[in-house]
């Protein structure tokens, strides 16, 4: 068994073996996308509920596609059109769902720890699709998968994450996953968004407030979205100042190692954290990230449902 657990709540909990095993399976699911029929029947008759308590387009669609390509039955609901509006608590909503016999719950929530809370309450598997500023494990996995496709083994590779690290669940999942696989992580952004204490997250994590120095020997730049809707604007004087000091412009890219590439979890604020010239340029791998996202979600859902590719070798007769 690659994943011997009921839930995936964050990359902090996963071992390097679990991460690499999941990515191997994700690679096999990616191969399925190139066929005329892009789904496999393995999850037929299983029910997955996507519970989004925060706006999301990309992650929700990616989970939905992953579930459909596994032939699972799916139910989507978001707070906008649910009984949350009538004052029902998170636990009551979740227990009602469980009473309807579901096999898996995918949850996106604005509060850190919401996924873990539900995982403790519910018997079914829970996948964290992003909880507050805590973790976004599927984004972390798809980022790592994209890096490994280009770089192979990540041991000793240098990854620079730029943006609002303090409030970013994407950054935290990246940091946990990357350091477990032996990469060296540099965090960069204004001191209001990248407190020096973040370096305590790991032996191979460092903080560098100067963008030029932070990217000089990087193999990968993971450029985070400035979350203007979460009040990120208060942490710096204005979008133009942010772009001038921390934006990834054509000039920044020209100063990188020749094979270094740029990632962004989307949606992009063009000409704030990333210049259009770079976002549309030859060095970015943003659409690879999107495609890998569906594959890693398929892999996690499959593995948490008891999927075991090893059964093939032993029980094929």
């Amino acid at each position: 068994m690659i994943l011997q657990r009921k839930d995936v709540l964050g990359l902090e909990d996963l071992s390097a073996e679990e991460i690499l095993g999941t990515l191997d399976i994700a690679g096999r699911f990616r191969a399925v996308f190139d066929r005329p029929v892009r789904s496999v029947p393995i999850m037929r008759g299983r029910t997955v509920v996507n519970f989004f308590h925060e706006p999301s387009t990309r992650t929700r669609i990616s989970f939905e596609l992953a579930e459909k390509r596994l032939s699972a039955d799916i139910v989507n609901f978001s707070t906008v059109d649910s009984s949350f509006k009538k004052g029902e608590t998170l636990r009551d909503t979740a227990e009602n769902l469980a009473a309807m016999k579901i096999d898996m719950l995918v949850i996106r929530h604005s509060s850190s720890g919401a996924a873990r809370y539900l995982a403790e309450v519910l018997k079914c598997s829970v996948i964290n699709a992003g909880d507050g500023a805590h973790e976004h494990p599927t984004q972390g996995l798809l980022d790592i998968m994209t890096m490994r496709q280009r770089l192979g083994d990540l041991r000793g590779r240098k990854v620079t994450i730029i943006g609002d690290i303090a409030h970013s669940r994407v950054a935290r999942s990246n940091i946990w996953g990357l350091t477990k696989l032996g990469a060296e992580v540099t965090l960069c952004g204004p001191p209001t968004m990248v407190p020096g204490a973040l370096a305590k997250l790991g032996e191979h994590v460092k903080v560098e407030h100067d963008l030029k120095r932070a990217v000089a020997d990087a193999d990968v730049l993971n450029v985070l979205r400035i979350q203007l809707e979460r009040g990120a604007g208060k942490a710096f004087p204005g979008n133009r100042e942010y772009h001038r000091m921390y934006g990834i412009t054509g000039d920044v890219v020209r100063g990188l190692k020749p094979e270094a590439f740029i990632m962004h979890p989307g949606p992009m604020n063009r000409d704030v954290e990333i210049a259009s010239e770079v976002a549309d340029g030859p060095r970015q791998v943003i659409l690879d990230q999107v495609a890998n996202g569906v594959a890693v979600r398929m892999a996690l859902i499959y593995l948490l449902s008891g999927g075991d590719p090893g059964a093939l070798a032993g029980g094929a007769q």
Partner: protein, 182 residues
């Protein structure tokens, strides 16, 4: 799964002769090799398909393309536990539409693997026909599936296990029968 080995039922020479005979039968039944492709079921079906292809080339003097089929995501026993992970993949180096596919596996038992393999192939396209070649048919079918080409028929009890060992995977070349240890 541990088992107590009882007897060698095919040695390397017998395996090679069986594959050679099956090659002749495939060519005869198909009246040549037009449109013919071979698909081995992961894992031991894959080297067996390559060998069958090589034997057919020696008979007919023409290459027959060969691919690999992974049925993991088509199994009907998702939640049963098994041994350590074994990652393999599907390699389909040809368009399956209008082809005559010879599906190759080492042992035919319940028929469930073949059922899954048929579904995988259908998701790649619509072949003209699919035929089944197995090195060993041990009986005990649970589905209405029968082989077209058989290396050796081996009557077994359900407590027994048939193990095909292939040089490329196991280092040795033999077919053994054993008893499962509880």
């Amino acid at each position: 799964m541990s088992f107590n080995e009882k007897a060698v039922i095919m040695n390397a020479g017998e395996m090679a002769r069986a594959v050679k005979r099956m090659a002749h039968e495939v060519v005869e039944a198909n009246k040549g090799v037009d449109n013919l492709v071979l698909l081995g079921v992961q894992r031991r079906g894959v080297p067996l398909a390559k060998r069958l292809g090589e034997a057919i080339r020696q008979v007919e003097g023409r290459e027959v393309p060969s691919g690999a089929l992974d049925i993991t995501f088509y199994r009907d026993d998702l939640s049963r536990l098994g041994p350590a992970p074994q990652v393999s993949s599907t390699e389909m180096p040809f368009d399956v539409n209008e082809k005559i596919i010879i599906l190759v596996d080492d042992v035919l038992y319940t028929g469930r693997t073949v059922r899954a393999a048929l579904d995988v192939i259908m998701d790649w396209g619509r072949p003209q026909a699919i035929r089944l070649a197995v090195l060993v048919d041990r009986g005990h079918r649970e589905l209405p599936i029968r082989p077209d080409f058989v290396g050796k028929n081996v009557p077994t009890s359900q407590r027994e296990i048939i193990k095909v060992r292939i040089k490329e995977i196991d280092g040795t070349e033999e077919v053994v029968v054993g008893e499962v240890l509880e």
